[in-house]
């Protein structure tokens, strides 16, 4: 018979919510809020740098829309989530009217991947900020 392990109680949201929320909005902001200034600076540099290069390569932002098949729909929604995960850089880009159509070309394609990649790097930073906030990490 398997032994049931006791579930750890979920940490209260007021412990990690601000760090994760600010970290999403401003890349590196969660670490800054938790007084990890050096790491905050590195994360901000990496995420913002990748995002800016994505823009300068004229990458495309994904839209949450259904495609003709399941794979296209998954790519559209997944890409959109990756874009939104960048936080303020994504919001500013949309508010300032950046609209790059999806055109063929390796550089544009790299740009699109950089824009999504920046958001995914920010997700890693958010998970780290969460771990620090709840005391799992220093």
């Amino acid at each position: 018979m398997k032994e049931k392990t006791a579930k750890e109680p979920r940490p209260p949201i007021n412990l990690w919510g601000p760090a994760v929320g600010v970290g999403w909005l401003v890349p590196g902001g969660g670490h800054f809020l938790l007084k990890r200034y050096g790491r905050a600076g590195l994360l901000a540099f990496a995420v913002a740098g990748m995002y800016l290069f994505g823009l300068m390569m004229r990458g495309t932002l994904f839209q949450p829309e259904r495609g003709p098949d399941l794979l296209t729909t998954l790519i559209q929604y997944g890409g959109f989530i990756g874009n939104v995960a960048s936080g303020l850089p994504y919001l500013l880009t949309v508010w300032l009217g950046y609209s790059q159509p999806d055109v063929p070309g390796a550089v544009h394609d790299y740009g699109t991947k950089f824009l999504v990649g920046a958001g995914l790097l920010n997700v890693l930073a958010l998970v780290d900020a969460y771990d620090i906030a709840v005391g799992k990490k220093d």
């Binding site: 050096g38 790491r39 590195l42 994360l43 540099f45 990496a46 995420v47 740098g49 990748m50 290069f53 823009l55 300068m56 390569m57 004229r58 390796a106 550089v107 790299y110 991947k113 950089f114 990649g117 920046a118 790097l121 890693l124 930073a125 998970v127 780290d128 990490k137 220093d138």
Partner: protein, 61 residues
């Protein structure tokens, strides 16, 4: 916003650079370990880049 045109190699190098920074920052416990892991990740990205590059070159002959 200026437009940049990068080669495949430059774009992959840039991707490796930014990703290695984040991987180094979030995966280890001390600053020294973070720096070492960041360089280690970057080294593996480069190895994969050159390895796959050679593989494609030889496979295309």
């Amino acid at each position: 916003m200026p437009k940049v045109t990068l080669s495949h190699f430059e774009a992959a190098l840039l991707f490796a650079f930014f990703t290695s920074i984040v991987l180094g920052v979030v995966t280890r416990k001390t600053d020294r370990e973070r720096g070492v892991y960041g360089l280690y990740s970057f080294g593996w990205f480069l190895a994969a880049l050159f390895g796959l590059g050679w593989l494609m070159f030889l496979g295309n002959r």
